[in-house]
């Protein structure tokens, strides 16, 4: 709109108004239509995004802060929170390392079968979480491929914590890699090559040249990976066995509470995960905002 104003500044006022009006009609929608479209979009987003979020927070705190605090510190809830944090502490670092390593191989080298490898990394996004759980039950469950052997050696994976770790590792495998691959491809390898030519070794090059370049994308990938790891439900529902205080993660504990009609407690635990979701999208917006500013400064 600023550009339209400046291009027609020199014209007489009457012509100015006329040109501005026709111009607007030509490449913009009339004001009433604009307002209508904005209103429809906002109503749609309120119904599907804002209200569900509000209902979680409202129901969690409806009966006061004390009830909320009791609900999240009660032993089974505390055990679920501890288990979820334990899972995240193990799975996120593993998939962080995998993401960086895979992105290094894919972005810095040309080799055959690369596009197949990228598709394979994307695969967990395409598979239903329930099927992910099933896959590991078939492989490691009591009636599965390795079940009898595992039972003989007294190793419990399904209906125990290792099974939960496996399905969450599967489900969150793509996040870091997917953030880093396009970023590192775009950055190319000239900087690393100069660093090596100047005498740095591979590790030094990675820590001093590559890592500073990818740190924001890496951070975002880790945040997404963390959010999904804490919230994973369908796959965990199949492998965990829902043993209270032992193999219930936070989402499973929410389901148990809800099915027992303990709605306030269910929403109290939910509010923690909803808070995590808000932090996640806020962090995403901040990182994107920072990127845009850097690109702006780079251009000017």
């Amino acid at each position: 709109m600023n550009t339209t104003a400046s291009t027609i500044d020199a014209v007489t006022p009457a012509a100015h108004a006329e040109t501005a009006a026709t111009w607007r009609r030509a490449t913009e929608e009339p004001a009433w239509l604009r307002r209508l479209l904005i209103a429809i979009a906002l109503i749609f987003l309120s119904l599907f995004l804002l209200l569900p979020l509000s209902v979680v927070l409202y129901s969690a705190f409806e009966q006061g802060l004390r009830v909320w605090a009791e609900a999240i510190t009660e032993p089974d809830a505390a055990a679920a929170i501890r288990l979820t944090l334990l899972v995240v502490a193990i799975v996120v670092p593993i998939n962080l390392v995998f993401g960086v390593v895979a992105a290094w191989a894919i972005a810095k080298f040309e080799f055959r079968g690369k596009s197949i490898l990228i598709t394979l990394i994307d695969l967990p996004f395409a598979i239903s979480p329930v099927v992910v759980g099933l896959i590991f039950v078939i492989l490691l469950g009591s009636q599965g491929w390795l079940g009898p052997w595992l039972a003989e050696h007294d190793v419990r994976i399904i209906f125990a914590v290792p099974g939960i770790l496996l399905v969450i590792a599967f489900g969150t495998l793509p996040f870091v890699a997917r953030e880093l691959i396009p970023l590192m491809q775009q950055q190319g390898k000239e900087e690393e090559e100069s660093s090596l030519t100047l005498g740095a070794n591979g590790w030094q090059t990675f820590w001093r040249v590559t890592l500073p370049n990818i740190k924001w994308g890496l951070l975002y990938g880790v945040i997404l990976c963390n959010a999904r790891a804490m919230g994973e439900f369908g796959a965990v529902a199949v492998v965990s066995g829902r043993i209270r205080g032992e193999t219930n993660t936070m989402p499973l504990h929410i389901e148990v509470l809800y099915n027992e009609y303990m709605f306030t407690a269910a929403f109290a635990v939910s509010s923690l995960l909803a808070g995590l979701a808000i932090v996640t999208i806020a962090a995403k917006s901040l990182i994107e905002w920072r990127d845009q500013r850097i690109r702006h400064h780079g251009q000017s």
Binding site: P52, F109, Q143, E192, E193, G231, V238, A274, K284
Partner: protein, 276 residues
């Protein structure tokens, strides 16, 4: 070197990084998936067919695929509208709204599930008003559509938005100067440019919805033949230790996922050629 896997270069670490990547993918991803497919392959054809064509299972396919299709269509229309409004118009709170679009990606599905059922139940904030008109969402097939719309909402918005941002405004001006009305310009100039992105977003939303479990099972009520989605049947069979039954249906879902992934890759390849 008789067989060169890669082009030569000075950067180190190719062997170890590729080796680790392939090993990890094989260990976590490929061997377990192969395990499911082999398990199903061991079943006799009759057992397999009986498991996947059971009346209750077929009813669940119809619901899962039908509701996913409707939800993806809703998201196609409203996702395009939201993307348009976010790119082209200015309004108060736009940045917050833009950020909020990602909420279904970040919100755990179980939390979304209990929030949606609470909201749309006949006593809920929204459901009580719909109840006056006799519209019931919770524990009906409409509820499944609502949950699947929620879960697929970001896809169309996020695939269309960047394309719309990069779209050359001069083309629209040219179209207008040559006498096209605004509607004609949108229909004949803008829409064709958006089609690959729209289809990609649609396919992503559909694929996500078909496999969705957590956000649906609370609002659907899980009535056999009526509101049971296919992933729920897999969980139910696995819980009853009916591994062959679960594996057969799981294999059907897995193959559907592969087919959808191929279609999405094809669409993305088409889109990248179109927009470059």
């Amino acid at each position: 070197m008789a067989f060169a896997l890669r082009k030569p270069g000075v950067l180190p670490g190719f062997g170890i990084t590729l080796g680790f990547t392939v090993f990890y993918l094989g260990f976590i991803l490929l061997i377990p998936i192969a395990g499911l497919l082999l398990y199903t392959a061991q079943m006799s054809w009759d057992d397999f067919w009986r498991a996947v064509s059971d009346r209750q299972v077929v009813a669940s396919y119809k619901l899962s695929f039908g509701a996913s299709l409707i939800a993806a269509l809703i998201n196609l229309v409203f996702g395009a509208l939201v993307a348009w409004v976010l790119v082209r118009y200015e309004f108060f709170g736009k940045r917050v709204v833009d950020a909020l679009v990602d909420l279904p990606f970040a919100m755990p599905t179980a939390v979304a599930g209990i929030a949606l059922v609470t909201l749309y139940a006949s006593t809920g904030w929204v459901g009580q008003y719909l109840d006056i008109y006799g519209i019931r969402i919770a524990y009906t097939q409409l509820g499944v559509i609502v949950a699947l719309t929620y879960i697929g909402l970001p896809f169309v918005v996020r695939t269309v938005q960047p394309v719309l941002e990069d779209l050359d405004r001069e083309v629209e001006e040219a179209s207008a100067i040559m006498g096209a009305s605004r509607l004609t310009t949108i229909r004949r100039v803008i829409l064709p440019a958006l089609i690959p992105a729209l289809l990609t977003g649609f396919a992503l939303a559909f694929a996500r919805a078909v496999g969705e479990y957590g956000s649906v099972i609370f609002i659907s009520g899980n009535l056999p033949f009526r509101t049971e989605i296919t992933p729920l049947l897999i969980v139910a069979k696995a819980e009853q230790f009916d591994y062959p039954g679960a594996a057969a249906i799981g294999t059907v879902m897995l193959i559907a996922a592969f087919v959808l992934l191929l279609i999405i890759n094809g669409l993305q390849w088409w889109a990248s050629r179109r927009y470059r």
